[in-house]
């Protein structure tokens, strides 16, 4: 973004970003707890709806080992949120959505 000034040569002006709050405890907890729940839910969705469904041989290994990569990705990126509250709201929303999909899947596929 270029700001123009009539009295001086134009100079680039840094875009104003909203300030970022460290919020160490709440962000860490969000990454740890919600990241884990989100990873579990996504792994569950994959287990039900991914290739081969529940019965694919040895798929349980992938289902199990995909949890930590997702978890740690969320955990490591959670500090980009502007505040702890936003982290909890976004991740909580994503987790609830994933869990809802998972339980809906289980319901529709006759496990509940």
């Amino acid at each position: 973004m270029i700001a123009t000034n009539t009295s001086a040569p134009s100079i680039p002006v840094k875009k104003k970003y909203p300030p970022i709050q460290p919020d160490w405890i709440s962000k860490t907890l969000a990454g740890c707890i919600l990241g884990f729940l989100l990873a579990l839910s996504l792994s569950g969705i994959f287990a039900w709806l991914g290739p081969g469904g529940l019965e694919a041989p040895n798929k349980s290994q992938f289902n199990m080992w995909i949890v930590p990569p997702i978890w740690l990705t969320v955990f490591s990126l959670v500090y980009f949120f502007r505040s702890g509250l936003r982290a909890w709201l976004w991740l909580g929303g994503a987790t609830l959505l994933a869990m809802a999909i998972l339980f809906l899947t289980r319901y529709l596929m006759g496990a509940l």
Binding site: Y17, P19, I20, P22, W24, S76, Y79, F80
Partner: protein, 202 residues
């Protein structure tokens, strides 16, 4: 281009991740080293039991047949320790599985010949610890003594429960490793070690 505030936050994340991860790795590597060298450490930390009865190489066949006759459980798989080792209670040891499950819980047993040439076998470790705990109370009749010595922190305790559980838990793979001859790791410590594993299909 990463903004300054984010960079500062992630520097702190880096520091703490490094600290926590470093401690976890330290525990892993320490436990791994202890597991790898459990047997030499065990032997190193075990005083020789003066009452222990070993058997000459000529008597081994006699001992083996006597053990197989008296303890049919040993027929599945047993180990003959041809040279005396400090941490071995007797020339023949075997593990008796307590469940059908592969790699499940098992008891450690040993057997030797007494001077009269009779076979003498016993359950190692935990019953042993009980015996020793009761030694002061019970009338002296037990011949079972000092079979397993805790090898790490409490050499005064003859087998500390928690450490043995921990070590056993960590060293489940030891026999597997030995099966594919990583024994070469252990041999430099005690070049005179000779033992043979007898595995029969029962």
């Amino acid at each position: 281009m990463i903004r300054g505030p984010i960079l500062r936050i992630y520097k702190t994340v880096h520091t703490w991740t490094g600290l926590i991860g470093g401690m976890a790795l330290f525990i892993c590597f320490y436990a791994g080293a202890l597991t790898m060298f459990k047997e030499p450490l065990d032997r190193w930390a075990t005083p020789v039991d003066p009452d222990r009865q070993w058997v000459s190489e000529e008597q081994m066949p006699q001992l083996i047949s006597a053990v197989l006759a008296s303890y049919p459980d040993a027929a599945r798989s047993f180990t003959v320790h041809i040279q005396p080792k400090e941490n071995m209670p007797a020339p023949i040891t075997w593990r008796k599985p307590l469940t059908e499950e592969r790699g499940g819980p098992s008891e450690a047993w040993w057997a030797t010949l007494n001077p009269a040439g009779e076979v003498k076998g016993a359950l190692e470790r935990f019953r042993q610890i009980l015996h020793e705990a009761l030694e002061g109370l019970a009338p002296h009749g037990f011949q079972l003594k000092n079979l397993h010595t805790s090898w790490l922190l409490f050499p005064r305790f003859k087998g500390s429960f928690i450490l043995d559980f921990l070590v056993d838990f960590l060293s489940v793979n030891r026999d597997f490793f030995r099966g594919i001859d990583t024994n070469s790791y252990l041999i430099p410590f005690y070049p005179e070690d000779r033992e043979c594993h007898v595995i029969t299909n029962h």
